[in-house]
Every structure is written in C-alpha cells, then in structure tokens.
Amino acid sequence: MLATEDSTPQNEIVNRLDSAVSEVFEMMLERSCDPLDGDVSIVDGRIMARIQFTGAITGECILYASQATAEVTAEALLGAVSQPCDPMVDDAIGELCNMIAGGWKNKLEHPQASCLISVPAVTREGLVGLEGKFGTKFSRTYSFQGNVFGILLAF
C-alpha cells in the first residue's frame, strides 16, 4: 500500500492514480504532469480512451482530452509532429490510457492487482452515456505544460 498523508480508501485510489500519471509522463514523455484542484472544464470535441477492468475489479479507466491536447500528447510520446487526422493520435491516447490504467492497477494490493485490463478503445463520443453506469467514480484533471486532460475511474 502506498504511504499517504490521508489513507482513506478514496484518497488511496486518487493518490495511486496521481502516482501512475506522474510516472507515465516522466518516463515516457519526459515531462512533469500535475493534478489540478477542483472541477476543470475540458472543451468539447473531446477524444476519449477507455480501458476496462475485469476479474477482481469491475470498472473502467477513461482518459479524455481535447483534440489539441491529444495531438500535443501524441507528439510528446512519439517524438514526431502529428498530421491532421493522424491515426497515431488515437493510438497514442489509447496507449497513454493503457499505461496509466495498468500503472494504477499494478499499485493495488492482492487480489485487486490481479484484475485484467482490456485493450484501449478510442472514441470521440465524449462521456455521454457513461453517467450512472458505475456506482463509484473518481474524476481527476491533470495538466502538463498547460495542456489539460481528465481521467475518470469508475467502479
């Protein structure tokens, strides 16, 4: 279990997510990425990547961002400038979600850490329709170099 100042189950979940996001950005994108306090509106036209948890945990990890943020993220991850409608942007956002969800899962204790994660699914349908699907949700917004994206963990 991670050592945290406030070790309520909810804060443990969020702290593990913050840690997973930070690790992915520092190692794969060589950038720092910090959580933002409070609700932050992310522009419409968002791209969304989903990873499903099954087995010991049933739920989803959803990463959502504007197209502009998605393109900047893809460029940072791939080290190349993305082109308009570049499929690499979808791949990069899906992989980012995969690594964050996997990193978060790997920080869980047994038996939750043994849950399986799906391959990422990337859509542009936004979060509509997901409300109410799961009972417990943790929403978190992050920023790297002024680019904002959100992550929703739902169980």
């Binding site: 690790e23 992915v24 190692m27 794969m28 991850l77 791939l78 080290g79 190349a80 690499m88 791949d91 992989e95 995969n98 690594m99 969800a101 996997g102 990193g103 899962k105 790997n106 850490a113 043994s114 994660i117 799906s118 391959v119």
Partner: protein
Amino acid sequence: MRKVIERALRQAGLELTEVLQASNGEEALQALRDDGGKPHPLALILSDINMPIMDGLQFLEQRRDEKLAVGVPVVMITTEGSEPLVLRAISAGAQGYICKPFTAEQVKARVLPLLRVA
C-alpha cells in the same frame, strides 16, 4: 506503442534496418511465417501482452508450437507485470520483460544483451 518502441530502440543507438510490424498476435505469426525464407533472420521480437484478437502470450505459445523464428530472442513489453503472467511468458519462450512505462535506457539495458552480433 510500436512507434514508441521503435523510437526507444533508435534512442538506444540501434540501427534498425528492417522492422516487421504487427498489430496483434495473429498478424505477428503470419509475419513470421512469411519471413521464414529470408536470408537475414530477425534479430529480436518485441511483443506487448495486451493485444486484440490474439494476445502476446498466445502469440508466444503458438510461435513455440509452430517452431517459428526459433532462436530469436523475445522481449515482452507490457503493463501486465504480475508474476503469473511473467512466468507464463518465460515458460513460453520470452527472454526479457519490460514493464510500461519505461525509459529508453531501460529498453537498451534489456534488449542489447539479447541481440546477436552481426
């Protein structure tokens, strides 16, 4: 992820003369079957575990059963770092394991010792 891996290998100083890419295990098996008659065999196989259609573990096991690319080292790159999966990958023929996220240095450290010197 394939582009990310390719970038990491280049950052590690490897000169990639030819890269066969596949988006799932089935495509990878087919690429190995098609590549069987080439005079310059593969130097390395890198595979994710979490893939659609056929995952990396199934790919490894099928590759072993079909005796494809025998002797070519395999490194798994994945977020799935649990012990049972690692053991299954090793028993199916994986020589290395890299957990995502990773740095280019980590890729270099895991991959270079496995590469055959030309």
